[in-house]
Symmetry: C2
Subunit: 203 residues, 2 copies
DNA sequence: GTCTATAACTCGATAGAC
DNA sequence: GTCTATCGAGTTATAGAC
C-alpha cells in the first residue's frame, strides 16, 4: 500500500485500517501498523478518528453493511423457493468472493460481543430467516419438495456459502491450491450449491 | 470458575486459560484475566508455564489434538462411501457438540499463522482429503452416484458440519434459540447431514 | 493537516519475601 | 508453591511546533 497519492489521507487510513484490522482483529492490530501501512504518522490517526476503538467501529460497520443488507433483501424477496435459493447463493458468493476475509472478521467480532452486535447491525429486527422457513414449509405441504426441517435446510445453505471463506487458509493448505484456484472453486459454487440443495430436496 | 478446591493449581490454570483464550483469542487474552478466573496470582502463571506464549501453545495443541485426529482417521478408514459420510458427520459432530467453541478458536489461529500451524498439527502430511476425493470419483465411475466435483462435495460436507459452530451466536440470535435448543439441533445434524448429502448424490 | 516528542497507561515478566 | 511489589517494553493518546 503506502502512499497512494490519488487518495485522500482519510481514505488511505480507512483502507489501511481495514487491511490491518481484518488481518489481526481488533486486539491484535496496532495503530502503528495502520499508520505505517497508510504511510502517515500515528498522531494523524487520532486526529481523524480520535481513538482506536472509534476507528475500528467505522471499519466494522462498513464490513457488516457490505455483508448483511443483500442477504436480508433476498430472504425477504417475493420469489419462488428454488429461484430464491439460486439467487441467494449466487449473490452472496458474488459479494464474498470480492471480500473473502469479511466473513471471518465479522463473525469474530460478533462472537466477542453478541449483544452489542445484534443491536448495531440488526437494530430491533432479527434477520428474516423465518420468511424463508415458512416458504419451505409451504412447499413441503404442497409436496413439491420432500419433508425436511426448514431450520436445517437454511443452515445447510448458509454453511455451504460461508464456510469456505472462513476456512480459506485451511482449505488451501489441505487441497494445496493457490488464491486463483480457490477463487475459481468459489465461482463454481455460485451455481453448484443451489444445484446440490435442489437435487437433495426436489421430489 | 474461581477456586475449585478439588483441582490442582495447574489444572485450574489450564481450565481458566482455555476459557479465556477461547473467548478472546491469543492477542485479546490477558494473563490477569486468566489468573483472576483461576483464583490465583499472575506470578503463578509464569511459575507454571513461563510465558503467555507457552501457556497458549499448551491450550492450542490440546484443542487441535481433540479436533483433528478423529477426522484424519475417518478420512483414511476403509469404508464404503456412504458409511464413511455417515461416520464422519456423526463422529465429528459428537466431538464439537461437547466442545462447541473449539472450531472457531482453532480456525482463527490457523488464519493468523497458516504455515506455522500446518507444520505443528499435520507435520509433513497434509490432511488426507484426497483419499475421500478418490473414493468419490470411483463411485461416479461406477455410476452409483451422480457426477459431482469431489472437491465441492467434500467442502459441502465439511461446511455443514463445522459452520453452525463457527456461527453459533449469530445463529442463536437469528433463530432466537438458547444453548439447549441449539444443542438439540446439532444432535439432529448427526444424521441429517449425511441424509441430506446422500439424497443429493445417490442415483 | 501533519509532524515530533512525550505523557499516560497496559501488560507480560521478574525479584524477593514468606 | 504462592504472594506482593515493581520493572520495563510496548501501546494508545495527547501536547505543541510547524
Amino acid at each position: 500500500m503506502v502512499k497512494k497519492k490519488d487518495q485522500s489521507t482519510e481514505e488511505r487510513i480507512l483502507a489501511s485500517a481495514k487491511k490491518i484490522f481484518v488481518e489481526k482483529g481488533m486486539a491484535g492490530a496496532r495503530m502503528q501498523d495502520i499508520a505505517d501501512d497508510a504511510g502517515i504518522n500515528k498522531a494523524l490517526l487520532h486526529y481523524y478518528f480520535r481513538s482506536k476503538e472509534k476507528l475500528f467501529e467505522v471499519i466494522f460497520k462498513e464490513a457488516a453493511a457490505r455483508l448483511f443488507p443483500t442477504i436480508v433483501n433476498i430472504l425477504n424477496a417475493d420469489l419462488p423457493l428454488f429461484d430464491k435459493l439460486r439467487r441467494f447463493t449466487n449473490d452472496y458468493l458474488e459479494i464474498v468472493i470480492e471480500n473473502p476475509y469479511l466473513p471471518l472478521f465479522v463473525l469474530n467480532e460478533i462472537n466477542k460481543q453478541p449483544h452489542a452486535f445484534s443491536k448495531k447491525v440488526f437494530g430491533n429486527n432479527r434477520p428474516p430467516i423465518h420468511k424463508l422457513a415458512e416458504q419451505i414449509e409451504k412447499e413441503i405441504r404442497k409436496k413439491t419438495i420432500r419433508p425436511i426441517s426448514p431450520a436445517h435446510l437454511v443452515m445447510n445453505m448458509m454453511s455451504m456459502c460461508v464456510f469456505p471463506f472462513l476456512g480459506k487458509p485451511m482449505i488451501q493448505l489441505s487441497m494445496n491450491i493457490d488464491d486463483a484456484q480457490f477463487r475459481n472453486l468459489m465461482e463454481e459454487r455460485k451455481t453448484m450449491i443451489a444445484d446440490f440443495i435442489i437435487a437433495s430436496i426436489k421430489k
